[in-house]
Amino acid sequence: MSERKLDELVRQAHERNDYDALINLIPYAKLIGIECLRLGDEMVFRLPQNADNIGNPVLPALHGGVIAGFMEHAAMLHLLMFMGSPHLPKIIDFSIDYLRAGHYRDTFAACQVWRQGRRVANVAITAWQTHQAEPIATARCHFKVDEP
């Protein structure tokens, strides 16, 4: 996809407050079912309850890899939406701490860009279910942002 088209998609999504087109661009995001909600200037990402995302069938609990994939993609979308990167950021490394079981219900994530240089961005992600103050996981990652 050209940089112009991606730029245009981001601009339209902000204008219409409808991020579906941006989400639908990425098959993996559709597979696990990521959604974006804009609350004022804040962006919150939502992963709706979905039986296909379950790892442990007994609790039942979401697969840790899905929680990680959700958080990684939230960070990527966040950069795309707020940092004016005209192309998809590329993952360099990703580190996650699991703090509580991710139960079979909706999961939310919010991102904090701690640093964006010309070449690399550092993003921290928090994921929660019932209360934002009781995260189920925290993660941090680096993205390469300098070239397509």
């Binding site: 993996y28 442990n56 899905v66 990680a68």
Partner: protein, 159 residues
């Protein structure tokens, strides 16, 4: 294959078959013995993270490696234990090639009564050319985690 390797293989397959999301991704046990576990993630269009290149999303690689590291505990434990992930770190050496399956290999390099330390790689052609390096720590649940059939008790693998 020795008897114990056969049972490690069977235990790994049973473990994997219980994880619904892994069935959605089509994960399969490629190889399992006392030295470690290898799983296969088949390439699929629904796992794409970059529509321009067709490269698989990092999230699918993370799921492959979380699962591989988690189930690799079966290679060193005498009986079935559910070990939830404490943390996981992935370093990408280079992007996966599109339209090719990805393999995950993991081994346990230290087992204590409370924690199991695992490490591994994701690769496509050879383990010597990894697309990602991974380390992960898994918690041991004590008695609560040791169940004959994991389907009978609570636990939190991968959560």
């Amino acid at each position: 294959m020795s008897d114990s390797d056969t049972s490690i293989h069977a235990r790994s397959e049973r473990f994997l078959s219980m994880l619904r999301h892994c069935q959605v991704l089509g994960l399969r046990v490629e190889h399992a013995d006392r030295q470690g576990l290898t799983l296969r993630l088949p390439y699929s269009d629904q796992l794409v993270g970059n529509p321009d290149t067709g490269v698989i999303h990092g999230g699918a690689i993370t799921t492959l490696m979380d699962t591989t590291c988690g189930i690799s505990t079966a290679c060193v434990l005498p009986e079935f234990e559910i070990c939830p992930t404490l943390d996981l770190r992935i370093d990408y050496m280079h992007p996966a090639e599109p339209h090719k399956d990805v393999f995950g290999f993991a081994e346990c390099y230290r087992v204590t009564p409370t924690v199991i330390f695992t490490r591994g790689v994701a690769y496509q052609t050879s383990r010597d050319e990894p697309i990602a390096h991974v380390v992960g720590a898994f918690m041991r649940m004590g008695k609560a985690g040791r169940v004959m059939d994991a389907g009978t008790r609570d636990g939190g693998q991968g959560a």
